[in-house]
């Protein structure tokens, strides 16, 4: 499930308009709206980007780099979304980037003051990529509300590193950089918790998997996620997948077959 570095750089450039330098590590920053994603982005990169709601359909104006442990990182700040199941242009941008760009690490920023609402997005990201770090931001706000979060337990439940942060105060950023580095280097393994759906859904997924496996493997996509979206009948996803595959020109026959099978 890993693209060659060269292929990835080509993909980022041609498909997303982002220049990933040679040996640079690509990091995606995802999260609900208003969780302090841009604060984290600015703190990590030293930029002062004022990102509001994004106009247009590209991610190329929300990127910045930083150096850590003699490694170069490029962070892409995705638009804030509650979901990746594409109701809006923002969700579609975030989904397409996470799904097709194959970032080395994805940081999901969650609002510690309303975890319940925020975990929905984290679980969706977990279905797309295993290389995830959860950043629990606004911990200062949470303690003002007398909320205590058991970070080690959350980490165990989610199966990914959880970094507690208060980005406005500059707290947690050193640890976040270190964890991003470790996950990118492969020294920190992640096993994000996967949602098991009802018997019927799981059965249908199992039937679809053989049909999408080839295409998933040759493009570093998650076969399970593709199968689930096909079952959703999500037309925007089919459209993105079609345009991505025709762009990549690696579309094997089995893809046409699996579409017919639906």
């Amino acid at each position: 499930m890993i693209l060659s570095a060269e292929k990835k750089r080509e993909l980022w450039q041609n498909y997303f308009g982002i220049s990933l330098a040679k040996d640079q590590i690509g990091v995606a920053l995802a999260g609900n709206p208003n969780v302090g994603k841009s604060t984290i982005f600015n703190a990590l990169t030293g930029l002062h980007q004022h990102t509001g709601n994004w106009p247009g359909k590209t991610v190329d104006n929300a990127q910045g780099g930083f150096q850590y442990n003699q490694k170069s990182f490029l962070i892409v700040d995705l638009p804030g979304t509650y979901s990746l199941l594409a109701h809006s242009v923002e969700e579609q941008i975030a989904r397409d980037f996470l799904c097709f760009a194959n970032p080395d690490v994805t940081v999901v920023v969650l609002d510690a003051t309303c975890l319940e609402r925020n975990l929905n997005l984290a679980l969706q990201v977990f279905e797309i990529t295993p290389n995830v770090i959860v950043c629990l931001n606004l911990m200062d706000e949470a303690s003002k509300k007398n909320l205590v979060i058991d970070v080690p337990s959350l980490e165990r439940e989610l199966g990914v590193p959880v970094v507690a942060a208060a980005a406005r105060q500059g707290q947690g950023l050193i640890e976040l950089r270190e964890k991003v580095f470790q996950v990118a280097a492969g020294s920190l393994k992640t096993t994000p918790r996967q949602i098991i759906y009802s018997y019927e859904v799981e059965k249908a997924v199992k039937e679809l998997l053989p049909l999408v496996e080839d295409i998933a493997a040759s493009n570093a996509l998650s076969p399970r996620w593709i199968a689930l979206r096909l079952l959703d009948g999500d037309r925007t996803f089919l459209k993105s997948l079609d345009s991505f595959l025709s762009h990549e020109q690696t579309s094997p026959l089995s893809w046409e077959e699996s579409k017919c099978a639906l």
Binding site: S83, L85, R117, N120
Partner: protein, 88 residues
């Protein structure tokens, strides 16, 4: 003693009162949207106020204020809570 549970559409909720989501009689993208906003069976929801013409209505769900069209809220079924259970 518990009587037969009364199930009402969310639109019957008056400002200030709280109820619990029982089911969503919605389908497709709108259903997905409502679920993504954290409105799932079992969730407590408080009616905050109605718009000037009675539509849309603002609801508090998991500490976030969400406005729903009455047309959509009518498809969300809820169970009224007895006193003492009210805490959103």
């Amino acid at each position: 003693m518990r009587g037969a549970e009364r199930i009402d559409p969310l639109t019957d909720l008056s400002p200030g009162s709280v109820c619990q989501i029982v089911s969503l009689e919605l389908s497709g993208l709108l259903r997905r949207r409502i679920l993504d906003l954290g409105i799932v069976p079992g969730t407590l929801i408080r009616c905050i106020r109605r718009g000037p013409s009675g539509d849309p209505t603002a609801y508090l769900v998991r500490e976030t204020l969400i406005a729903l069209r009455n047309e959509d809220a009518a498809q969300i079924l809820v169970r009224k809570l007895s006193n003492g259970e009210e805490c959103v």
